[in-house]
């Protein structure tokens, strides 16, 4: 066995060891924090690429922690396949962008908390990688808690009064959501006697009557409600907007693109690996209901976004709408599974474009003190490069062709046509229209706005700036990198989708034993 066999566990050990290293050395010498973080995430990125290549060549990858392989279900198994390996890669890349952006994460006054910030940052990455790669239903809960606790810390590390309240509400909602998930897993354990996802699936399939039992149905319902709470699916979205818009920009760049998406991934994983797509598709009534809920979520998210005056809050409500896209797409239940494909692809596209937009919003907030939409006036002439990155993110959000956002909507709509869910198509198009209105209004203000940008930084008033106010390289690079990634995802949508569909079309490769 060579080191490359251990990639599934190395990918999350790297940030874990990174966090420990920051804790041991970063407290005395805060300058080591950033290099350690970048190095750890670099190792993760390398592992993610390695996993992706191996899966492409050899199919799904199982890793038996502590070597407990037989009988199935006694140990914990890590599972990488075509659904989660692209997402691992996106997590690593977005995390690196966020780390670059977060050179001075908590502002000047609290620079003593820089090591704490980076420890929590790395622990959040550990949690996200772990959630994505685990094949054990209970282990998933533990890693969800790792990422949840670190995100409460990352939100409340800011100086503002509001972020503390937002973090508290997030904590309450997040804990209740995770507990609901735990109840669901308990009910499944009660009926199947197993915690391993694949083992649960096998038991359910071999005893068909179990699917109809009250306990298993309740388990499914509670797991779904728990995950929906964590991903801010519409009626349960209350915590998201305040938490992500009042936390420090550096935290938002990591949390907003990845946290909700990880929960969407969990939902898809539970549908595919635990209950099985055949079973989910057989229950068309459930699917219809969820698609309706998704339609409501999309409509509500878009409407609420229209009503916002603050830039980041508007983006947050767009996330609520995007979550609706993905949930609805996953439940379309069309025979070609285009809806599900679109959801998985949208997971990647949305993570990158949200990253792009939040990096832009963070740049504007940090370097221009822009918080409200009206303050963006005259932005393009001040920051041409940064604004072009922002424009690409915005175009992707609207769904303009060369970007990833267009192709994900394309696949989602294709699935919806196959499934005959016209209301979902209407919601999707309507929401795209709202996005277009929103962002073109922004462009207009930023491009033609006469009033100069109000110059007050987060740290208070500064001297009058020069004409061009391009942010420093470490801020610009991730923003443009994310923009490039959005376009690359769009350009190479064909091979990516083909790769994802190897797992979705033939679920045997997912639910059966790997090599």
């Amino acid at each position: 066995m060579t080191m490359s066999d251990h990639l599934p566990v190395l990918i999350l050990l790297a940030p874990l060891f990174g966090a420990v290293a920051v804790g041991l050395f970063g407290m005395r010498e805060p300058r080591v924090c950033l290099p350690v973080t970048l190095a750890a995430l670099g190792v993760s990125l390398w592992c993610a690429v390695g996993i992706l290549l191996r899966i492409h060549d050899e199919g799904p990858l199982d890793y038996f922690v502590a070597g407990w392989e037989k009988p199935v279900g006694i140990g914990i198994v890590l599972r990488a396949d075509a659904i989660n390996s692209p997402f691992l890669l996106v997590i690593a890349v977005v995390a690196i962008f966020a780390a670059l952006f977060a050179v001075r994460p908590t502002g000047e006054r609290e620079s003593g908390k820089t090591p704490h910030f980076f420890i929590l940052f790395l622990l959040l990455c550990t949690g996200l990688f772990g959630i994505t790669i685990t094949g054990d239903a209970f282990n998933l809960f533990v890693l969800v808690e790792v990422s949840a606790l670190s995100s409460y810390g990352l939100i409340a590390i800011g100086r503002t009064k509001r972020c503390k309240v937002a973090a508290f509400h997030y904590l309450i909602m997040g804990t209740v959501g995770a507990s609901f998930y735990l109840i669901g897993v308990g009910y499944l354990y009660l009926k199947t006697g197993s915690l391993n996802m694949r083992d649960i699936h096998d038991i359910l399939v071999s005893n068909r009557s179990l699917f109809g039992s009250r306990t298993v149905q309740t388990a499914f319902l509670f797991i779904l409600i728990g995950i929906w709470t964590k991903m801010a699916f519409f009626p349960l979205h209350g915590w998201l907007a305040n938490a992500y818009s009042y936390c420090p920009s550096s935290s938002a760049c990591l949390l907003a693109p990845l946290s909700t998406k990880a929960s969407v991934y969990v939902m898809i994983r539970i549908m595919v690996s635990v209950f099985g797509l055949d079973q989910v598709e057989a229950n068309a009534a459930w699917g219809d209901l969820v698609v309706w809920l998704a339609v409501i979520a999309i409509a509500a998210g878009s409407t609420l976004a229209l009503a916002q005056r603050e830039f980041k809050k508007m983006l947050c409500f767009l996330i609520v709408a995007e979550v609706g896209y993905m949930v609805g797409g996953a439940w379309l239940g069309d025979s070609g599974r285009w809806g599900l494909t679109g959801s998985v692809y949208h997971l990647l596209a949305d993570a990158t474009m949200t990253s792009c937009l939040f990096l832009a919003a963070g740049t504007f907030a940090k370097h221009l003190g822009v918080v409200r939409i009206d303050d963006l006036s005259g932005l393009f002439s001040r920051m041409p490069l940064a604004s072009s990155g922002f424009v690409i993110g915005a175009l992707a959000m609207i769904g303009v062709p060369p970007t990833g956002g267009f192709f994900s909507k394309f696949y989602l709509i294709r699935g919806a046509i196959d499934a005959g869910e016209w209301i979902y198509i209407a919601a999707l198009l309507g929401s795209s229209l709202v996005n277009a209105v929103l962002f073109f209004r922004l462009f207009e203000i930023a491009f033609f706005g006469k009033n100069p940008v109000g110059f007050h930084r987060e740290q208070g008033p500064i001297e009058v700036p020069s004409e061009r106010l391009e942010p420093p390289f470490h801020v610009l690079a991730p923003l443009l990198g994310a923009a490039a990634l959005v376009i690359l995802l769009g350009v190479f949508n064909g091979p990516i989708v083909e790769f994802i569909r190897t797992a979705l079309l033939d679920p045997v490769t997912i639910v059966s034993e790997a090599r």
Partner: protein, 262 residues
């Protein structure tokens, strides 16, 4: 009133769904239930395997310890990480760094620093603390054979420091275990656990597979190596839990200032 009404709705709905499923449960205490025995007609459940084989595999009589630190050791690693994360999050949220302290008006300290009227409490605790600590270490070490282990022992050890802080003063307790040292200790605990679990990778075995470390411990069989491995891991857990429990208390009792305190 609105909140109460909606809460009642949510609670009644959730409760009804949960109770609806209850009628379908196996009877309480049924040894043939799927969780205890396995689905009828299927393979026996994991717990049957554990009861039958854990002692052979790890030579640890306490099945809970064997599963906690070996079969599901990956869970336990992240459980320790959860504790560590909580400690770091509390520092990030609450800790007031000294430089900032001047700006905030000092609230009247409810501290009892220099209070000499509590001789009885002080003397009792002075006697009790070493006993608590010895028992905590015993709990950590004896987790193989009796209830206990790293978590329980670690919490007790942390509680003994909390007892010092309560009976004398927080400053006194921090003199025993200062801020930098408990952050270091917490990191060290994780490092012991994760680093030790990493060692089998060097010999080409899977993560956390202590059986591969036979040569390191000089034992005959893999099961004794696992038993020793579990012990090392428990020490790592205990270190992290001790320091984080005390850190949480120190921060909460002094409003993040780490002086004054209850």
């Amino acid at each position: 009133m609105n909140a109460k009404l909606s809460a009642t709705f949510a609670v009644v709905f959730t409760g009804a769904v949960l109770l609806y499923a209850v009628s379908d449960f196996p009877d309480f205490g049924d040894p043939r239930s799927p969780a205890n025995h396995g689905v009828s007609g299927g393979a026996p459940s994991a717990s049957v395997y554990y009861i039958k084989n854990a002692y052979h595999d790890t030579s640890v009589p306490n099945l809970v310890t064997a599963i906690l630190a070996d079969y599901r050791g990956y869970d336990t690693l992240f459980e320790t990480v959860v504790i560590f994360t909580a400690g770091m999050a509390i520092f990030a949220i609450l800790r007031v760094l000294r430089r900032d302290d001047s700006g905030i008006p000092a609230a009247p300290d409810p501290a009892i620093d220099g209070d000499h009227h509590r001789i009885v409490v002080g003397v009792t605790c002075r006697i009790a603390v070493p006993l608590v600590q010895i028992f905590a270490l015993y709990v950590v070490a004896h987790g193989h054979h009796s209830p206990g282990g790293g978590f329980q022992g670690g919490v007790m050890l942390g509680a003994s420091f909390i007892l010092i802080a309560l009976s004398t003063s927080l400053r006194h307790a921090l003199g025993r275990l200062s801020e930098t040292s408990f952050i270091r200790l917490a990191c060290l605990g994780i490092l012991i656990y994760a680093g030790f679990a990493f060692l089998p990778l060097v010999v080409g075995r899977n993560f956390l597979d202590y059986g591969a470390l036979r040569a390191l411990f000089g034992t005959d069989g893999e099961e004794m190596a696992r038993s020793h491995g579990i012990f090392v891991v428990e020490i790592g857990i205990a270190l992290t839990v001790t320091s984080v429990m005390f850190a949480i208390f120190a921060n909460l009792s002094s409003r993040g200032r780490l002086h004054g305190g209850l």
